[in-house]
């Protein structure tokens, strides 16, 4: 009998241990126990979440491909593979290496599918920057992303950064990678073909990252714990060589399957590749390249050393593959072979140290977690607008919002990322979404990631729906047709019914919104236990979305282009302030309900904007989101610093609170600008789709002026807006 403190320390419960005894019909060896502990961790096994993830649609308007470790869509014989993954806990413990290895891991998930990685995006969340540890985390994470992404030669083209007290004590680092491949060059993460060889390639194995997925990622932070040894160390140079060697190897046609040794390392690769290929595997640990002495079998099986992969190679072709990896100065050694007994057999110098059915390792138990609506929501959702004083000076409020950490421009961050390498980046960071050309075609893709977690905190179902439709709206504003989703679901402790209720509702929200828009969820990741004694994070279901642009010459950015353009508002403003950035920044309130959502209206607005862009009728398009209409208009005026254009908004006529009109975050609104001779054509398209359409003003001058009726609410020189918007993040960091 293994002592409970042994399996507890590996993160296994009593019940899970009993389950293991039942499966093996004997006492597990140390190695077997280690293998179960990592493979059955929440991080790898999706024990709590799997039941609900089934709700997410796997099909949409584009043909989908769902692989073992990533997914994508197919257009004209080209596969676009993408996935987003979290590296939250490692980043909280060691921000630079945590973020760096998050980037490295997600890139490997893409190129092991046979796709060349062409872009990265990051969704980051931190506590307020007035706390020095949060500042350390932000600068460390940005440093880690630039350290890894720049060296490995994959451009970081987009992302988002939000700040909220709920992330103090548990920051979020979600990294997304996009890759492309010819459809027939894709490879699965499966091992098959009796007698085929299993090769280990890449870096050697050390003791770094042992228990990363089971101890670090699958538990919440407690007071005074030292978890740094469970974080891995990244080596982007080796990864760059691995990318080239792997794609070269796949090109030979001798590769049957590949898998990244990410979370749960060798354990995960052996069991999941055997399971996916409906085969077995016999592995000799003595053949595993290592960088430390006296490593025990269980350590080798649990290590999460980076930049390693397992490849299933056609029998007799091992030397071909080995030659390619050696050319890049990488390890490549045959460590075993494919069997047909369904067993993962691990040997140490011939002696069996573990022998487990592949599917019993990979089929982690599914838990039906209890859920309950949190009681605090009843109080929080109430918002008596009458009790909130209206500001005297809207100019001041707008300037404060432009400088708010979640709104202010993020140049300080993305100028540290190489966002142009590979020469595909057509729309650079700073607009609604990044646009990447697909060389050799007329097409381009747009990519964005999005989630307003305050909405999700106050209304998880609708908040998650909004995350999906806002991502789609961002893509539409670039001229792209929203195509498919990857989701990274960040939540608190799933064993707490209130946290699990948030999770369940968010998943339902994503599923319903995706269904209505006919968009598939092709890949994703769940990260639970994002809490610390300081706080539980707001539920954060980050949506990564890809859109397709059929003609690269018909893309659009958010900035006004010249004086004399007509400014059009699609959609309309409601008198709502719940969950807004305005309430949070100006009144210090996280209260009310998420904005209302009419999915029909949303579709009408998006279709109108997309058609107008595709017909080349508009010069700019921008989505209204955090900070509402006023902030969106200001961004249209100033986001091209070499060509700032003012605006006179003098045709609004709303009977509502002025602060709600300016700063309310009503959904389904897009600001367009077009030459005056195109206005009627755009109006016709709006009529066709039944989208509310209103010309609200004209571009020109060096001032942003907003009137409601005849009352002037805002009148600000562009230089003042720009100063607040562009300088505040850097100032805050350097303070």
């Amino acid at each position: 009998m293994v002592k409970p403190n042994v399996y507890h320390s590996l993160g296994l419960s009593d019940k899970e241990y009993q389950n293991i005894l039942k499966i093996l019909k004997r006492k597990p060896t140390n190695t077997e126990l280690a293998m179960f502990s990592v493979e059955w961790s929440e991080h790898c096994g999706y024990l709590c979440s799997r039941k609900w993830l089934k709700l997410l649609p796997k099909r949409g308007k584009y043909k989908t491909l769902i692989g073992e470790d990533s997914g994508g869509i197919i257009i004209d014989g080209l596969a676009i593979i993408f996935k987003m993954e979290s590296h939250n806990h490692p980043s909280q413990v060691e921000p630079k290496q945590g973020a760096a290895t998050g980037v490295g891991g997600i890139i490997r998930d893409i190129f092991t599918a046979g796709a060349r990685p062409i872009a990265l995006l990051d969704s980051l969340r931190f506590g307020p920057l007035n706390q020095s540890y949060n500042k350390y985390l932000l600068t460390g994470v940005v440093d880690g992303i630039q350290f890894y992404g720049n060296c490995v030669g994959v451009p970081t083209v987009g992302g988002e950064i939000y700040f909220d007290e709920s992330y103090s004590g548990n920051c979020l680092v979600n990294a997304m990678c996009i890759g492309i491949a010819k459809k027939d060059k894709l490879v699965r993460a499966a091992a098959s073909g009796l007698g085929n060889s299993i090769m280990y390639v890449g870096s050697s194995t050390g003791r770094d990252g042992i228990g990363g997925c089971s101890i670090l990622a699958s538990h919440e932070f407690k007071e005074g714990e030292e978890k740094r040894p469970t974080v891995q160390i990244g080596d982007p140079f080796t990864e760059k060589c691995l990318i080239e060697a792997t794609l070269e190897a796949i090109n030979t046609g001798y590769v049957v399957g590949i898998k990244d040794m990410g979370a749960a390392g060798l354990t995960c690769c052996t069991s999941e590749m055997a399971q996916a290929g409906n085969s077995g595997m016999d592995i000799e640990l003595q053949a595993v390249p290592r960088r430390e002495e006296n490593m025990q079998p269980w350590e080798l099986m649990m290590s999460e050393s980076q930049e390693r992969m397992l490849i299933c190679v056609k029998k007799g072709k091992e030397d071909h593959i080995k030659k390619i990896f050696l050319k890049w100065d990488l390890n490549a050694s045959v460590v075993g072979k494919v069997t047909n007994d369904g067993l993962v057999t691990i040997r140490d110098d011939g002696k069996i140290v573990a022998q487990i059915k592949a599917h019993s390792l990979t089929k982690a138990p599914v838990y039906d977690m209890p859920y309950k609506k949190p009681r605090y929501l009843r109080e929080l959702n109430k918002l008596a607008l009458g009790k909130i004083p209206e500001p005297e000076d809207y100019n001041k409020v707008l300037l404060r919002l432009m400088a708010a950490p979640s709104i202010t421009n993020k140049t300080w961050v993305y100028e540290q990322y190489d966002h142009m390498v590979q020469t595909n980046t057509v729309v650079l960071p700073g607009s609604d979404a990044a646009v990447l050309r697909l060389k050799g075609t007329k097409k381009a893709i747009a990519a964005t990631c999005d989630c307003n977690s305050r909405y999700c905190f106050l209304n998880p179902y609708r908040g998650a729906q909004i995350a999906v439709i806002e991502a789609a709206r961002n893509l539409v504003c670039c001229g792209a047709n929203p195509a498919a989703v990857t989701d990274c679901l960040n939540f608190g402790n799933p064993e707490k019914p209130e946290s699990f209720w948030q999770f369940k509702n968010c998943v339902e929200g994503i599923a319903d919104a995706c269904r209505l828009f006919n968009i598939a969820v092709v890949s994703g990741n769940v990260s639970f236990y994002n809490e610390s004694p300081k706080s539980v994070i707001h539920p954060t279901p980050t949506i990564g979305m890809i859109g397709i642009i059929n003609d690269i010459n018909k893309t659009c950015a958010q900035n006004f282009k010249q004086a004399g353009e007509a400014i059009i508002l699609l959609g309309y403003c409601r008198e709502e302030l719940g969950a807004s950035e305005y309430l949070k920044e100006i009144h210090n309130l996280t209260k009310g309900d998420a904005p209302q959502l009419d999915l029909k209206l949303e579709q009408a607005v998006q279709k109108t904007a997309l058609k107008a862009i595709e017909k080349d009728l508009v010069n700019s398009a921008h989505d209204c989101s955090e900070g509402g209409l006023a902030v969106a208009l200001a961004e249209c005026c100033i986001s091209d610093k070499d060509n700032m254009i003012g605006a006179n908004i003098n045709k609004l006529n709303y009977d509502m609170r002025q602060d709600a009109l300016l700063f309310g975050e009503s959904q389904s609104r897009i600001i367009l600008s077009c030459n005056s001779d195109c206005v009627e054509k755009v109006r016709k398209i709006a009529l066709e789709f039944k989208a509310p359409f209103c010309v609200i003003g004209k571009t020109g001058g060096r001032v942003l002026r907003i009137l409601n009726g005849i009352e002037e609410l805002v009148s600000l020189p562009l230089e003042d807006l720009y100063a607040e918007w562009s300088g505040s993040l850097k100032k805050e960091i350097e303070r």
């Binding site: 720049n150 140079f237 190489d418 390498v421 060389k439 070499d642």
Partner: protein, 234 residues
């Protein structure tokens, strides 16, 4: 006429340079693996950007020991055309094919953005299609682009008209305000005395097509092609 693009382990702009030569300029081009030493059929060698050997040590410090570098030094000695971009420039400095050294950017961060540079010398095989003092928009992307050379060295560079590009504003102001990385005298690119080896930090291969924010870099490659066409034999 044939171009060669050197591939060090860790190079990451090699494919971009290759693409521009092959698909934009429609010229023959091949990759040169860093362990190869034969450069017989080549007329212009491009040392691309990236992080050769990870650049965990000083940038370019390991790459210069690659077998190919000895051949490139021979090639340059015979008058062959060599252009080093970003990491390629850093490697040329380390190899002694160009004078001076590269320091970390003065803000100690990686910087990726579009900047403006002004041509200082158009009497070269790399810049003949520009106008003197022409302002070019090109992106930079580097950690170490802070060029330094001692006073005597700088004087020599100036006396021999070896400074080819300097950073400036969109309208051509070349004060320190428009120096992105702290580089000495706003230097963005230099040439050797003989005029056949150019090193520059900005990326012309990222600004050679209509779809990308600028096409100003195209004429560097085009100048080389024109020069090679005119003087096929040295």
């Amino acid at each position: 006429m044939k171009f060669g693009v050197v591939v060090f382990p860790g190079s990451n702009c090699d494919q971009d340079c290759f693409y521009v030569v092959k698909d934009v300029l429609k010229q023959p081009v091949e990759y040169i693996w860093h362990k190869d030493t034969k450069l017989d059929n080549l007329d212009c060698i491009i040392l691309p950007g990236g992080f050769s050997y990870g650049d965990y040590l000083r940038t370019g410090a390991i790459a210069r020991f690659s077998p190919v570098m000895k051949s490139i030094a021979d090639f340059a000695r015979k008058g062959g055309t060599v252009i080093g971009i970003c990491n390629g420039f850093q490697i040329l400095l380390e190899a002694g094919l160009l004078p001076g050294v590269m320091l970390k950017n003065r803000n100690l961060h990686f910087i990726c953005k579009h900047v403006y540079i002004k041509t200082q010398n158009i009497q070269t095989r790399f810049t003949s299609l520009y106008k003197q003092g022409q302002i070019l928009k090109m992106p930079i992307a580097h950690n170490e682009g802070n060029y330094y050379i001692d006073a005597a060295g700088l004087r020599e560079l100036r006396d021999n008209n070896q400074v080819v590009f300097r950073y400036c504003s969109a309208t051509g102001k070349d004060s320190d305000e428009f120096n992105p990385n702290g580089t000495l005298a706003n230097i963005a690119g230099i040439i050797n005395k003989r005029g056949n080896v150019l090193g520059m930090m900005p990326h012309p291969e990222r600004s050679s097509e209509r779809e990308l924010s600028s096409q100003d870099g195209y004429f560097i490659f085009k100048s080389i092609v024109q020069w090679l066409k005119a003087r096929r034999v040295w």
